[in-house]
Symmetry: C2
Subunit: 263 residues, 2 copies
């Protein structure tokens, strides 16, 4: 961590709970995703622009995109930490990055996220550059996040890989399906053997709309190239709710990913 | 806590994570159940008879029964703590109790659990009274747990209320369906309105057998009296895996529960 950037980066410690691992004994992508969202919340709250402060002012953060790459997922009982910082602030979006560090403090993964802020009354996006006199920009930090930005996900020739009617356990305090639950449902589309033997190289989510109790979610999946899947989730056979990309370790594009330049 | 019983009771602090609450903003029963199991693990490990110590000796704990009553479920961002202690040790079972305390240290719920220990090679139960020279009995504690013991659950005239094929996210590091996932699937059988408006007075689980990836689980539910449901979960239309009782706050038996004597 750069010393003069110290207060810009938040660091949060965790231990992998035994029942937060999958059958390989590694932290699940869903639990990691939940930790990332919590860290975003802690970091923002500590600096005066978190959910609790914003609710008083009738605004809230909305997660728009998430991309996660973990090359060494922490295992049961292992300590790890998550760092998070603000990479950029635009008028309607902010880029927030994450690093996952193992018990020795070595990075074992990174994540990128894009957030908007909405007015709770009008549900319209708010101007981040005028919020609190633009003070959120004071926290912009140059720390490196060496993974690609979330890309475009487009399902054109997919096939229906699963259906799920939204249940009580899918719904969070906001009354809509929890961001993390989509991740679990999407990974459940794949055979256990694939998840166990190959592991996930990169995982992307694009949150487009909200879904609610009783909605029927349809998951359409397309194999873009071997080991790389784009998924589109629609509610009630109409509106797109979520798009996702899952890249397995043995996928064709893993080798070239290191060389790829950001668009 | 009785002072001379101090080391017998383990106390563990938590904060309710925002995405660990349901649509009412209260901690979900599944997450609470996970915390209870973790506390059992911490408490046992700290005293030399936890999973990690036992694995070295080729034994492991198996949860047999769980009963939970929470009258004031902690809310998002609230601090709470869980106390746990050993109530009794028999040759093949041990009773472990829990108290849930709110931020002020006042009890807001209790739980009871029954555990067996099995030999990992033979899958046969082990004799708890000879384990480590019977030292587990040193931790038997007289602290009160003022809720009923797990009772008999018997579904005789139920109807099929749901089906679920076991997926990747259901499976934990042991290769079988995680104890907590059954709780989520069982609560998902009920209409959201019932869970939201009434809340759960008491919840019981009896773990009978294990289920695995790909198994088809069938949930048969019987309303024993208004607001009180017994559920039986079978795998592949044959073997019983789990039985459960859910008692809602407005159920007929809540009023009389206070007077009931333990069998």
């Amino acid at each position: 961590m750069m010393s003069n950037e110290g207060n810009k980066v938040g660091t949060y410690e965790f231990v992998v709970e035994p029942f937060h691992t999958d059958l390989t004994g590694q932290l699940t992508m869903g639990v990691l995703g939940n930790h990332l969202l919590n860290c975003a919340g802690f970091h923002a709250e500590d600096r005066g622009f978190g959910m609790a402060s914003l609710h008083e002012h009738h605004y809230t953060w909305v997660l728009s995109r998430l991309a996660v790459e973990v090359f060494e997922q922490p295992k049961a009982y292992e300590r790890f930490s998550i760092q998070t910082w603000v990479e950029n602030v635009y008028r309607l979006f902010t880029d927030r990055d994450f690093a996952v560090l193992n018990a020795e403090g070595r990075p074992v993964g990174y994540a990128r996220s894009i957030w908007a802020m909405i007015d709770l009354d009008t549900r319209k996006p708010a101007d981040l550059l005028t919020l609190h006199g633009g003070s959120i920009t004071d926290y912009i930090c140059g720390k490196e996040c060496p993974i690609e930005k979330p890309g475009r996900i487009k399902v054109t020739n997919g096939e229906v890989a699963g259906e799920h009617q939204v249940r009580y356990s899918d719904i969070d305090i906001n009354g809509h399906v929890n961001s993390i639950k989509y991740i679990e449902h999407i990974l459940d589309l794949f055979p256990m053997e694939l998840l166990r033997d190959q592991g996930i190289r990169r995982f992307e989510m694009a949150y487009v709309a909200e879904s609610y109790y009783g909605d029927m979610l349809t998951f359409t999946r397309e194999e873009i190239r071997p080991g790389e899947y784009d998924i589109e989730v629609k509610k009630n056979h109409a509106e797109v709710v979520v798009r996702s990309k899952v890249l397995f370790n043995a996928s064709a594009s893993v080798e070239e990913a290191g060389d790829k330049k950001e668009e």
